[in-house]
Symmetry: C2
Subunit: 343 residues, 2 copies
């Protein structure tokens, strides 16, 4: 298996990306194609004595900066490490593409270059996030601010397949983010999505209140991209403020510092379990080939974990499974005279 | 000033409500009209030796149960403590109404019985919630699942007035909940609301990402009721899971229990600052007279605080201020040939 890696995406590129790749080549038995400025990749690898064994380089001289608009990158920076990686994937030169770069650009670029699975209305940005015991997928988390009910049905199907095939969750519970648990809750979008999810080949458990998401309400939370993005970011925001307040407590006095030292490893563990970075990132669901977003601040170990998930994304035949499932519901919808979920 | 109190609303009614009222009569120098089954109120007061000094009782024999639908309560339970309280307020027999009962019923009942301020499109449920340093208002938090841009503009105006007059925030910063901070972010609703909020007589600071809400992004967060409800409930959900995980750490071993004992008071304080119960509740904004929702689990002290805020809601002339401000923007809109914000 060959995974194409954006060597210049993310806050810690290229050093941590290269380190993560070098570890992954050994541990995961994969080949890698790095995209980015060739000379710079070779210089950093040499300087830090990182082996480029089983890694080839696809030269991509342009660099994406913070000033570039996500929507324009794929038009104006066709020779960037991200655009080249997506082109190589589309051309069949690798089995998957992974980047820790700009999420918005990756969603736009995936749609433009790799294209969607036939019948899929929109790709979705779908991070796997921490909950009380383990994790859940939040789909969509911001790729689509305006959604149709059929898109939410597809999100449920795609998320269910991913959580089963890649994350190993048996019969994933799919829930619809809503303002209450009763069936009739929400607006028109939720009412129609609820009906469609009930007909979908997933374990749909109904509406989920935001309050219950961090507990263990469902394995897949379906939402329009606006709601999902608010959930994603508030999750992070509340946890950050609480952890910072906790830090304030633990550094307030000598006595408190002593107490902190006694529970330090446990609190670090807590911080880790609330950090969605640790789960390695977010697949772009609905793309015709596996595209994976690693967390922007990923260091070597996290990036290696993301490569592990990307490998599982390929091996789980997730794209084929989604394709077959979407085709089946589209045929069923047509037979019943309803609008197909395809555009 | 006379405040009408739903003596039978909330998890701890009537006992904690009566206790809170008795304390408030002394501390806040107010008169109270209690609504609920007269005999039961008198029995509980006697049994617990609670003085009913400066309190009159408006008999309301019906009890609202968990099985009653919020939408139907005002039709089917016209003699419930909540409905009678709202009727007494509408009839001018008191200056404000406060209840710790069903939020949905209170919103519906307020609209039906107390009515909206002229020109206000919808009442909003607007809790004051904790953030890193102090607090902010989240308006709307669920009264209106589907919103028009003009409603969001009115929410910003109403929230700004309340935070200034009741919570004492000078020149409150009003922000629009959105998926990014740039002006063009969000869907059609956000684009139009953004333009209207810029024209409103408030200190509008633009779009706010959910990540920044718990920090100190703004004093008033404007959102449609669906988004606001997700924010409200996720806020609570994430904090609950984190505090429960922290509790797990502190009870894990003898060593950890010792550490916990050393920081116990500080952690309790932290828990308190994250509890929106402590801020005492949520005004129903846009009602033609002050209506206030106290937290359902309010005990005497919290209920007394809610009474203090209700008193400030009356004394701040919030209803008149809102009325004048909404009238002014509606006149301005008409002069410019735009749609009035009134229905």
């Amino acid at each position: 298996m060959k995974i194409i890696v954006d060597a210049f995406g993310g806050d810690n590129a290229p050093l941590e990306i290269l380190k993560g790749c070098a570890e992954a080549v050994e541990e995961l038995n994969i080949d890698i194609m790095l995209t980015g400025p060739r000379a710079e990749i070779e210089r950093v690898a040499k300087e830090h004595e990182i082996s480029l064994n089983r890694m080839e380089i696809a030269d991509a001289p342009e660099i994406i900066t913070m000033e570039d608009s996500a929507g324009d990158i794929m038009k104006t920076k066709k020779d960037s490490s991200m655009a080249v990686g997506l082109q190589k994937l589309a051309a069949g030169e690798g089995d998957a593409f992974i980047s820790a770069g700009n999420s918005g650009a990756l969603v736009v670029g995936t749609t433009m270059i790799v294209k969607r699975i036939k019948g899929v209305r929109r790709v979705a940005f779908a991070p796997v996030m921490p909950k009380d015991k383990d994790f859940f997928m939040l789909i969509d988390s911001g790729a689509n601010v305006d959604c149709k009910p059929e898109m939410l049905q597809q999100f449920g199907i795609m998320g269910s397949i991913y959580m089963n095939k890649v994350m190993g969750v048996a019969n994933p519970r799919v829930g619809l983010a809503n303002v209450g648990t009763e069936d009739h809750k929400g607006g028109e979008l939720q009412h129609e999505a609820f009906a469609l999810l009930k007909q979908a080949p997933v374990n749909f458990i109904g509406n989920i209140e935001a309050r219950d998401i961090p507990a263990d309400a469902a394995d897949v939370i379906v939402a329009d991209g606006f709601t999902g993005n608010c959930i994603l970011k508030l999750y992070e925001g509340v946890a950050m403020v609480l952890m910072s307040k906790l830090k304030g407590i633990f550094t307030k006095s000598v006595k408190n510092k002593l107490a902190a030292a006694m529970v330090l490893s446990d609190v670090k563990e807590l911080k880790k379990t609330m950090d969605y970075n640790e789960y390695g990132g977010a697949p772009i669901m609905g793309a015709s080939k596996p595209v994976f977003k690693a967390h922007g601040s990923a260091k070597a170990k996290t990036f290696k974990n993301a490569l592990r998930l990307t490998k599982a994304y390929v091996e789980g035949n997730v794209v084929d499974e989604i394709s077959a499932s979407i085709r089946a519901i589209n045929i069923a919808a047509k037979e019943q005279g309803r609008e197909s979920t395809a555009e």
